[in-house]
Amino acid sequence: MIRRLAGRLVDLLGSYALAVSVLSLLFVLTLFGTLEQRYASIYDVQTKYFESLLLTDLRTGPDSSFPILLPGGYLLLALLGVNLVVGGVLRVRKSLPTLLLACGTVLLLGVVLPTISAGAMFVVAGLVTLLLFVVTGWAWPQADWGRLGVLVVHGGILMLLAAGLVEFYASDKGTLALAEVEGGPYRRAGDEFESYYEWDLVVAEHLEGGGVRERVVPFERFEGLAPGESARFEDAALPFDVRLSGFHRNCVVVQEREGGVDGLALRRLPPDPEKSERNEPGMLVTLLEKGPGGRTHRGLVHADQSFPWRVGVSREGRTQAWDVDLRRRRWSFPFTLRLDEFVAAYHPGTTRPKEYSSRVTKMEEGSSEPILITMNQPLRHKGYTFFQSSFEPSREVVTREGRRVRTPPVSIFSVVRNPADAWPLTACGIIMVGLAYMMGMKLAKHMRSERARRAA
C-alpha cells in the first residue's frame, strides 16, 4: 500500500497537471503582486509574494486587505523544481547512453560557458550541437537517443532554478559611491559596498592608535522584535552588554515632553509605499555596564542620525569612549576600486544625462588595472558585478564662511555579489543546445520521411 501511495505521489509530483498548476499560480502571484505595487514598494511585494511559503492576504488599499490562502512563490518554485526533476529527468523514458550523454553535455557546457564571452558562447553551443548530431546520427546511430534534447533542455531549466535559489540565499546587493576627490564625506576609493535595505547596529571601540574596532549586531537579530520585546547581546571583551528594544522599521524622532529618552522618542511610520530603501529604522539601545554598580546608558539610534551615539563607559577607573551607530549593512570585496574620472554627456541644452561612465582603477595584491565602467558595460570580477547606476554632478557651493567650493562628481555603482551570476546565461546556452538538437532531429526526421515519400 505504501509503495502504491509513493508511486501515486511520484506520479503527481512529475505530472503535467502539477506543472501547469504551478505555472498558472505563478502567473496569478505575478498579477496580484503587480497590482499590490500600487500600495507597497517593490521590495516588500517581492518579499511577500515570491520569497514566501504561503500568501495569506491580498492588499486592496493603503490600509485594507482581503484574506486569502495561496502558495507563495518560494513554495511554487520549489514544487516546479521537484516537478522538473521527477517528471523531466527521472520518469522520462530514456536509455542509459542518452542519460550519460545528456549529463555529459550539461556538465561540459556548465563548465565551459561561464569562462567565455557571450559571442564565443554561440560558437561553442553550435559546436556542441554539431557534436551531438555526429555522435547520435553518425557514430552510434544504432543506440536509442530518444529524449536527449528534452533532457538537456530540462537540465538547463533546472540550472536556471538553481541560479535563483543560490541568488536568494547567497547574494548581496548594494551600492558604492565614489568621488573624484577625497575629502570630507567623499571617498575616492573603496572596498566596501552598502546594502539598500538592511541595517546593522555597530558598536565601535576606540583603539590606542586612533582607530576603531567594530562589533556588529546583524539586522536579522532585531528586525523582528515585537513591541515590548527586547534582545540582549554580549561579548566577553566588552565592558557592557547591549540590549535592543523598540525597533521600528520606519520611524521619525519626535520630541517627548514626558518620558522618552533625552526628551526624544521614536514615532512609527508606515513603510514607504514606493521605495523600501527610503525606510529609516530606529530603536532604543541600552548599554548595561558589567560588574556591581555598573551604570546603564540609554540612547535612541536612528538611521538619519548625524553622527554616532558616543558613550563614556567606566573601565578600570577611567572612562572609555564607545560609538554606537545604526548604519546600512556593509560588505567588503577582495580588491579596491578607485575612481579616476567620471564622465557624463548631457542631452543638448538640458541637464538630463545622455550617457555616463566611470574610469576606475582596480587595485589588487599590489597590481592595478584601469577599467572603464559604462551603463551597459559593468565590471565583473571575482563574483562581484559593478553596474554604473547613477551619479551626483559637481556643484558649486558657498560655505557659511563665504568660501566658494566645488563638490566633486560622485559616481554611484550598483554592486551585486552573486556566486551564481553566470548561471542564467549558461543555462540559456544549455537550453539553446537542447532545443537546437531537438529541432535538428525533427528536421532530419522530416527530411528522411520526405525522401522516402518521394522515393515511393
Binding site: 540582549r232 548625524s306 553622527f307 558657498v398
Partner: protein, 405 residues
Amino acid sequence: MTTTRPSLLFARLAPTAGGLLLCSLALAACGGDERGPYPLEPGRERPAPDREVPEAATALERLGVRDEQGRPVLVPTLPQGWQAQPASSMRVISARVPGSGAGDGDLAVSWAGGDVASNVSRWLGQFGLPPVDEQGIDALPRGQLAGGPAVLVEAKGRYDGGMGPAPAADGQMLLGMVSLLPGRDRLFVKLVGPDALVEAQRDAFITFCATLVRAGTATSAPRPVAAPTAGSAPVPGSTPAPGSAAPAATPPAGPRAGLDAGRLAWDLPSGWKAQKPRGMMRIMDFRVEGAAGTEGVLFQLAGDGGGVALNINRWRGQMGQPELAPEAIAALPRVRWLGRDAAWVEITGTYQGMSGERVEGALFVGVVCLLQADSLFFRLVGPKAEVEPQRDALRSLLASMREGG
C-alpha cells in the same frame, strides 16, 4: 477492534494538552520578553571612525526632530526686519516683510506633495503666466534650501491673491524656492509682495532659504550652502550667472533665543592666534606662539550640552583620570565668562584625543559656562610646560569675551 468515544478521547487528551499549555506559559513567563543573549559578531578594524562625533553632542543634535507628519522641524533665521507670524496647518513658518505704503511682503514656508513643475506652474498661474515643464525647470537658477538643492522661481505682474493673505494687486512679485530633494513631501518657500520690496529682499530671501536648518543642527558646523547658478547648473564647469545673487557669507542678524556665535568677540592675548575651526560645533581654534603642541578650542552646544559634570568627567577620561564626584565638581574654582561663573578644571596626565592624538605629560585646562539657552566650552591642551604659562592668558581671553563685537 476497539473504538473510542469522542467524549472519552477528550477526557484522555485534556490533561496532557492542559499540561503542555501550562508548561508553555511557565516557560514563557520564565523567559520574559527578552531574547538572547546572543554574541556580538566581530566587525572590521578601521584606521579612523567613519564619522566625526562633535564634542559633547546632545541627543537632539545627533538625532534631530520631526513634526507629526514626519517632516523635519525647521529652524529659521529671519533676516533683519522680517516679522515672524503664527504658523498654520499649511505654513510651517510664516513671516511678514514690512514694506512702505505699497504694502507688505508675505513669506510662507510649506510642505506639499507633487512634482516641481506642477507646483511652479501653479505659482506662475497666479501671475497669469504660462506653465513650465521639466525642461523649463532645468533652465531655472539653482539655490539651496534647508541643506539641499533647490530651484529659484520668479514672477512679476498682477497677482491673483493665491491662497495667502496678500490681496490681488498689480505690480506684485514672487520669489520662490522649491526643494529638489526627493521625498514624500517637498519643501516650498514663497515670498510675495510689491515688486520693489521683494526685489530689495532678494538677497535676504536667498540667504533665508540657505540658512533654514533642521532642528538640532542649528549650531552645527559650517555646511555647504549652494550659490544660485543659472541654467544647467549641475554641468561641470558652469559658473553663476551674472546677476544671480549669492547668499551672504554671514547670515543676517535675527531674533535668536541663544547665543549667536557669529557675534562673539574677544581680545586675543599676546602670542595667541585664532584659526578657522577644524570641526563641527567649534566656534574657533586657537594656537599659541612658541607652543606648537598646544591647542585651544572654543565650542558651543545647545542647552546644557550634557551638563558640567558629564563634560568634565569626559575630559578626565581623555586624560586617563577617574571621574570626579559631584562634590568635587561643585568645589571647582570659577572664572568670569560672559558675565557668568564658569567652572575651571585642570587635569594632568596623558591626553588621548578622540581623533587619536596622544600627548604624554599633558595639562588639560577646561572651562564650562552654562548660558541661558546654550553652553560654551573652552579647552586648552598640550604639554604641561607649554600650557602652564598660558593660564593667565586664557583667563584674560575669557574675561574679554563679549557678544555683539
